[in-house]
């Protein structure tokens, strides 16, 4: 089976097959073999790669997978051939699309730092949400212009609720 896997910023074309409890992977030139077994509790695999023992925990997230290896969480982006092709077509200039700042968790809006029309720089805090007794400054990830402010101060917000929409600069 063939996949495109993006891991720590690098994308690689990956082909793999399994023979019984052996896993054979080819990724940009490298050949990796492992003895694998799925453990009983959760999506957890025990891998023996040339004798080295690894327990890896896989949890799907909205943008792909998170794989935990010895406490470190490694985000992994997996794409299938067609998906890959479509993305190529769409050009994937992701940063030109603008973004929406959402509440990362339930809380209360204690400050709004921008108004529609304001220009914002990547990393600039636009909203302050208080949750778990901490005030959290929520920032935009790209330069842009504020299109909408969707909440008011003191408003209680739910996890994932859109707070501010920002369009391309």
């Amino acid at each position: 089976m063939k996949l495109w896997v993006t891991l720590e910023g690098r994308e690689a074309e990956v082909t793999f097959r399994t023979e019984g409890d052996r896993l054979v992977v080819e990724a940009d030139g490298r050949h990796i073999e492992a003895d694998f077994v799925r453990l009983p509790d959760g999506e957890v695999y025990s891998l023996l790669i040339a004798g080295r023992s690894h327990v890896v925990r896989v949890s799907p997230t909205a943008e792909g997978l998170e794989v935990e290896v010895r406490g470190t969480v490694i985000p992994v982006e997996v794409k299938h051939p067609l998906e890959k092709m479509l993305q190529a077509v769409s050009g994937g200039q992701t940063t030109a699309r603008g973004e929406t700042v959402t509440a990362p968790m339930p809380g209360v809006v204690v400050a709004i730092r921008v108004k529609p029309g304001d220009a914002v720089k990547a990393g600039q805090a636009v909203v302050v949400v208080e949750a778990m007794k901490m005030q959290n400054e929520l920032a935009v990830s790209h330069d842009g212009v504020v299109r909408e402010v969707l909440v008011s101060e003191r408003a209680a917000v739910a996890a994932g609720q859109p707070l501010v929409r920002v369009g391309p600069a």
């Binding site: 720590e8 406490g71 992994v76 299938h80 067609l82 992701t94 778990m132 996890a159």
Partner: protein, 502 residues
């Protein structure tokens, strides 16, 4: 004073569990209280008895003084242990307990009052001849007042909530400009956290160490010094890792330090367990900061090296008995560290995280202790703080303790909310930490986003895991399952946001 048979714990989470363990070990009845969302919290499941006290928000339950006291009276509690936070340092609550004929396990209301206000505490320390950090003598009423003070003391200054503690409601000011930004935010936090928006300022020491003294005083006024704890590794004034002894101390410093701490305690007629907080400047001169009139989150490291049970000692004092060790506290043995395991995402600026504990396996084996309030399937409520567990280790010396911490973190399995296990592993392996070169600016100095990159071997394992996942999913995955390329692409863009939602 009769034996305290029935003890109500006016708290929740890991500290409520910690306290009820000692109650059980001393063959007392443990009585838990719980808010609606805490019906299935671990302290409720483990207690001998448990009673509801209201809705989720603390003010409607754990901070609902009438309800808590009414419950304590109704269930015939002999005493109340407040833990930390909530009513732990609340003079009015302590008085109300006395009025209701219930023993408050802690110092007297007068002591709490005298030390609860940071400014009064400063005065007490000065009266006891213990040095304090230069600053405003009282609350400051306006930005301008602060600016005037800055001319004499000089920036950087620290803006602090008068009623504050636990690092909440504090901000550093490098200049008049930062003051303007911080003034409202700090007073807002102070109001929200303590219902008191008074703030004051003091000189900010660039690279201070935070070192505190554990004291234990019996009813007759005998005060014992149980060694120091260094809590320098902090983020936004929130302690992350504590240890005892302090790598900055030699025997001479320790003696002077303990002696100063006991002087402050005697000055205010202290009783029960307490913590005298100091900061050390770069010359290792210590200045009095404040007294926490409660059991501290990090008390276990002191227990690990002394072999004492501080909660058991508090109960002895509350019953009017002398301390278990009389006049001579046990010699500390070895070294202990505590890592606070918090529901937050180090890779996203430590953003708090919530959710269900999907899987948890605590590290075990020699020299490891877990104090925790979670279990598999438990949903971490949004109403309370995000401390999930405390990983405490002991070693014969600092390096064994540190390596044991690394080993234990490596064993720790915690799935569900994001957490800071990997951060602690980074910290414990950092050469400056290993060398004991600590300060409260450790993170500003050494932590950079992206520090948690996995090595090539882990990356390979992750690659293989991804392949095995796809194999497992093969049936369910339709190629291009996301409606179109654009939204597949947008998955990228949203990645940041999404991860916060888990």
């Amino acid at each position: 004073m009769p034996r305290l048979h029935r003890v109500l714990i006016a708290n929740r989470g890991e500290i409520a569990v910690r306290i009820l363990r000692t109650l059980r070990e001393t063959e007392r009845t443990s009585i838990a209280i719980f808010s609606e969302p805490d019906r299935t919290a671990l302290h409720v499941l483990m207690a001998d008895e448990a009673y509801p006290v209201g809705a989720g928000p603390s003010r409607e339950s754990y901070l609902n003084m009438e309800r808590v006291l009414e419950t304590a009276k109704r269930v015939r509690a002999d005493a109340i242990h407040p833990g930390y936070g909530f009513f732990a340092e609340n003079e009015a609550f302590a008085r109300a307990c006395a009025a209701a004929g219930i023993v408050f396990i802690g110092p007297s209301p007068e002591t709490i009052a005298a030390l609860g206000d940071k400014l009064a505490a400063r005065k007490a320390a000065l009266a006891a001849g213990v040095p304090v950090v230069p600053g405003s003598d009282g609350p400051v009423g306006s930005r301008d007042e602060v600016k005037k003070l800055a001319r004499t003391i000089g920036y950087p200054l620290m803006l602090k909530a008068a009623a504050g503690g636990g690092g909440k409601g504090m901000r550093v000011l490098k200049n008049d400009g930062e003051l303007d930004a911080a003034w409202d935010l700090t007073r807002g936090e102070a109001k929200a956290a303590f219902g008191d928006d008074r703030v004051f300022v003091e000189r900010f020491i660039e690279r201070p160490r935070h070192v505190e003294a554990q004291i234990l005083a019996d009813a007759t006024g005998r005060v014992a010094f149980l060694g120091e704890r260094e809590c320098s590794v902090q983020r936004r004034h929130q302690k992350l890792l504590e240890e005892t002894p302090s790598p900055a101390f030699d025997a001479k410093t320790r003696a002077a330090f303990g002696e100063a701490a006991c002087r402050v305690a005697k000055q205010v007629g202290y009783r029960s367990a307490g913590t005298v907080e100091f900061i050390l400047d770069e010359q290792r001169q210590f200045y009095f900061l404040e007294v926490n009139t409660r059991l501290q989150v990090e008390h276990p490291v002191t227990e690990m090296v002394t072999g004492l049970d501080l909660v058991a000692e508090q109960l002895r004092v509350a019953e009017g008995n002398e301390l278990s060790f009389g006049d001579t506290p046990p010699e500390p043995r070895g070294w202990s560290m505590e890592a606070r395991i918090i529901a937050e995402d180090p890779s996203r600026n430590f953003l708090p995280s919530v959710g269900v504990i999907e899987r948890v396996q605590f590290p075990q084996g020699p020299g490891v202790r877990n104090d925790s309030g979670i279990y598999r399937g438990y949903e971490v409520p949004v109403f309370y703080d995000s401390l999930l567990s405390k990983l405490v280790v002991w070693g014969a010396d600092r390096d064994q303790a540190r390596r044991r911490l690394v080993r234990a973190l490596d064993e720790f399995v915690l799935e569900g909310p994001h957490h800071n296990l990997a951060f602690h592993a980074w910290l414990a392996l950092h050469p400056e930490f290993a060398a004991g070169n600590l300060s409260t600016r450790f993170l500003e100095d050494h932590w950079r986003p992206g520090e948690l990159k996995a090595g090539p071997e882990a990356a390979n394992a992750a690659l293989l895991a991804a392949a095995l996942h796809e194999r497992a999913e093969r049936q369910r995955v339709q190629v291009g399952g996301r409606e179109n390329g654009a939204s597949a692409a947008s998955a990228w863009k949203w990645a940041g946001r999404e991860r916060g939602r888990r």
